[in-house]
Every structure is written in C-alpha cells, then in structure tokens.
Symmetry: C2
Subunit: 228 residues, 2 copies
DNA sequence: AGTGTTAGTGTATATTATACACTACAACAG
DNA sequence: CTGTTGTAGTGTATAATATACACTAACACT
C-alpha cells in the first residue's frame, strides 16, 4: 500500500467549521487533538481526503469519525494553501462550513480527538494550524450568507417560533432587529408555513412555523431571492 | 525525482477562467489542448500545482506559460472534486477566475497549448473535462460579484469614460441600465476620480475617470460597501 | 453651416425601509 | 380566583431609496 509519483504532491485535507446553537449561543464544534503536532490544542475537525471520495464525503466521514456529528448542512467554503500551514509537510486544505439543527446528539470524541465540544464563537480558545483564519472566513461567510439565503433555518428545529428565528438572526449578525419589521419582511416572503401548533411553557404560547423548502426552490427558479 | 506516500493522494491542479473584453464583448481565454486526453479540444488554461508554490502562484505560472497572460486580477473561485472529472486519474482542481485589463498583449500559445484565443462568453465551443461547469460557476460569480464589489474596473483601461463602464456592466449583467441612474449611483459612491482628460474620436468627447483604489479600501474599512 | 452621433444633466413618483407602543394571552403566586 | 409577570402579536406614519423619463451640449465630418 505504497504509491509512487513522478513529482511530489501536496497532501489534501478537509476541515469543517460546524456551527450550532448551544443554549441559544452560536457555537462551533472543536476537537482537542490527541496527536502531534499541536497535541492537546483545539482544532477544527477534519482530515485527509481519500483517493476515491469527494471532498464533501471526506468532510462528512471525518465529522462522523471525530465528533459523531452527521446529518448536517455542509457547503464548501474556501481552499487554504499557505506554504507553511502545517509543520509536517505541504498540506492544502479545503474548508467546509456546516450547520447543525440540534445540538442534541452529543458530540462524542473519536479517533484523532481527545475531546469534542461546542465553543461559543465569542469565546474561542486558541486554535491549531491556521484554523483561526479558517474559522474567521467561515463566520464572515455565515454572516454574509444569512442575509441573502435562508440557511439560518438549518440551525433551528424543524418547527420554530418567530421569536426563535429572530433571536437566531440577532445572534449571528450581532445586532438587534426590530420585531415588527422582521416579522413583516419574513412573512412577506411566504416561505414559512404557519402550523396549528403552539409552543408550550411559561407565558403566552407562540405559534410554530415550518420552513417551506419546496416553495423556496420555486421562488429561486422564478428569479426571486431571499433578502433580509 | 520520485516520491512515495503511504496512501494514494489525489493530484491537484488549478484552472483559470480569465475574462477580458475583446471588441467590447465579454470573452474568456481558452487554449486548444496539444496532448491527450481531449487533444485538440478547447479547455481552460491550468495545470498541476507544485509542492512549493501557492495555488495562486501556480495559477499565474500556468497562465504565463500557456497563454503569456500576466498581471491580472485573480481570485479563488471553487474547488472541483468530482471523482471522474479527469479520465487519467483522480484530480482535484482549484479554480480561479481572473480579469485582464487589456486584451492587447496578444495571448501566445505555449507549452501544453496548441493555440490560445479569446472566445465570446455567449459563443463558447465545447470544453474538455468539466470545464464547462467551471466556466458557468465563474460567470455566475462574476455577475453576482460585480454588483457588490467594484471589480468591473479590472476589465477596463485605467482611464475610462462613464459610457464605457456602463456598457461593461450591461454586457456582464446582460441587461440594459438607465444612463442617468447609473451615473448618479456610481458617482455618489465617490470612487471615481474625474480627470482633466477627454476621450478623442468622432463625436463629442467624454470625460475620463480613474478608479480610486485607496478610497475604496477606506470606504470598506468604514463599513460602507459598494452596491450597484 | 448643417447633420449626425454621443455626452451630460434633474425631477417627480413609486417603492422600500425604518421607527415606534400598545393589547392579548398564558402561567404562576398568593 | 385574581393579580402579577413575561412573552406574543399587531399597524401606521415618515424617511430614504429606486425608478422612470427627455432634452440640450459638444464635437466631427460633409
């Protein structure tokens, strides 16, 4: 199981910036490395790309192996290529960012990872390699994207209240939004299906909504685009 | 000069979608392949990434070698990773898109290329590999990006008239724009320096302008962003 | 001197974004 | 069972922005 090439090739990895809501705080999934280099340091989950798998498949495999997280929205972010980003050898890494709906399925440490945990984006520890730069790129992209594509819903449960989604947007964008204007705009897009279900708990119950994915696809086809 | 790795690695290439204006038509730089696979077919310029060069450096090197084009705006586009995109072996390609100011420096065929030429984007021939998909992605990105970042200027000479830039935008976006509104918005951004020079030719001379890059950077820092 | 072609300019209207405050309802405590 | 507390839910007036639209100015050429 050894392979010879005429010219030396950069190694190829994927790294994943997975966002989720932990106690209503935007958080990122980090592992603590079990091996050198950067042993014990925090890092993004990721690993080498097999010869017979797509990048996205590699990202999903590594996430499952290292963190036990699966079934998530994943999208390619950027390819990081600095010459010295890894002290071992030349490694080029294709970064993906992901959104998970429930932070329920507790992440479980797997191979290569001493521990896995969610970390609030405003309280990140120092990261290994150039992972801080990768994270920054992902966070910027999330902030930009959330304003013109309805990906925020990927972070919420399938049924949610308008208040929930508003506070999600406030968390991501880092600023407050006007309740009435937010609801007006959001409902005007006609992407949310009101349900006959209501939230339970102390205080007045709020109506639950569901994101209508097929309606979204239809609107995109017709040239209309979501903008918040 | 032979290298052994424990596990097989995908090969890594860069491909470039270089846009330019040829006779006022948005065009793309294509080579005609000199070697198999896809010998004689049209393709995007590109090639393998060396172990000691960044992706952008590889893109610039390949462009210079194959097409003699240099000094251009270049930006990473997307990484293409389908399993069978190359019939020879597993190759992952990082695509870049570029904008060149003058289509003067006639492209000259170099290694790997039988011929190099500009092709209007609305009259592209069939392309080798998955290069059609790469081109489509690049064109979409250009159309999207031109509306919120002033990259269009990279396609024009350093001194240009308002009519020139308007018709450039019309070409890229594929629709007509209102002259007065376009000028109003563009000038309101305060990114163009009016010069005391005028175009020459048949008919009334038009004032020349210059893009003020440092002013642009300043505005971006202050949170203001270009939007057309 | 006249003709043809492009350069250059302002205003009125429609659309969209913003700012803002009260009532309705449910749970819980007493 | 009633009062208190905390969240849900709703409309309008104003400001800002986008759009639609037509004529005069300047130069080159005949």
């Amino acid at each position: 199981m050894s392979h010879t090439y005429k010219y030396p090739r950069p190694a190829l990895t994927v790294d994943c910036v997975v966002f989720g809501l932990l106690e209503d705080q935007l958080s990122v999934l980090l592992i603590q490395r079990a091996a050198d280099p950067y042993r014990d340091k925090f890092a993004l989950p990721g690993g080498f790309v097999g010869i017979d798998e797509t990048l996205e498949a590699a990202a999903r495999r590594e996430l499952a192996e290292e963190t036990n997280v699966c079934d998530l929205y994943l999208e390619q972010l950027y390819t990081f290529d600095a010459l010295q980003r890894d002290p071992r050898e030349r490694i080029i890494s294709v970064a993906y960012y992901g959104l998970v709906r429930q932070v329920n399925h507790q992440p479980a440490a797997g191979s290569d990872a001493r521990a896995v945990a969610w970390h609030r984006v405003d309280q990140l520890p120092a990261l290994a390699f150039d992972h801080r730069a990768i994270f920054d790129t992902a966070y910027q992209r999330l902030q930009a994207k959330v304003q013109y594509q309805p990906i925020g819903f990927e972070l919420l449960p399938r049924k949610f209240t308008l208040t929930q989604i508003q506070s999600l947007y406030e968390t991501i964008l880092g600023r407050e939004l006007d309740k009435r204007n937010f609801r007006k705009k959001l409902l005007a897009m006609d992407l949310l299906e009101p349900l006959e279900e209501f939230s339970r708990g102390a205080h007045r119950a709020a109506r639950l909504y569901r994101f209508n994915r097929s309606r979204y696809r239809l609107l995109v086809k017709q040239g209309l685009h979501f903008e918040l």
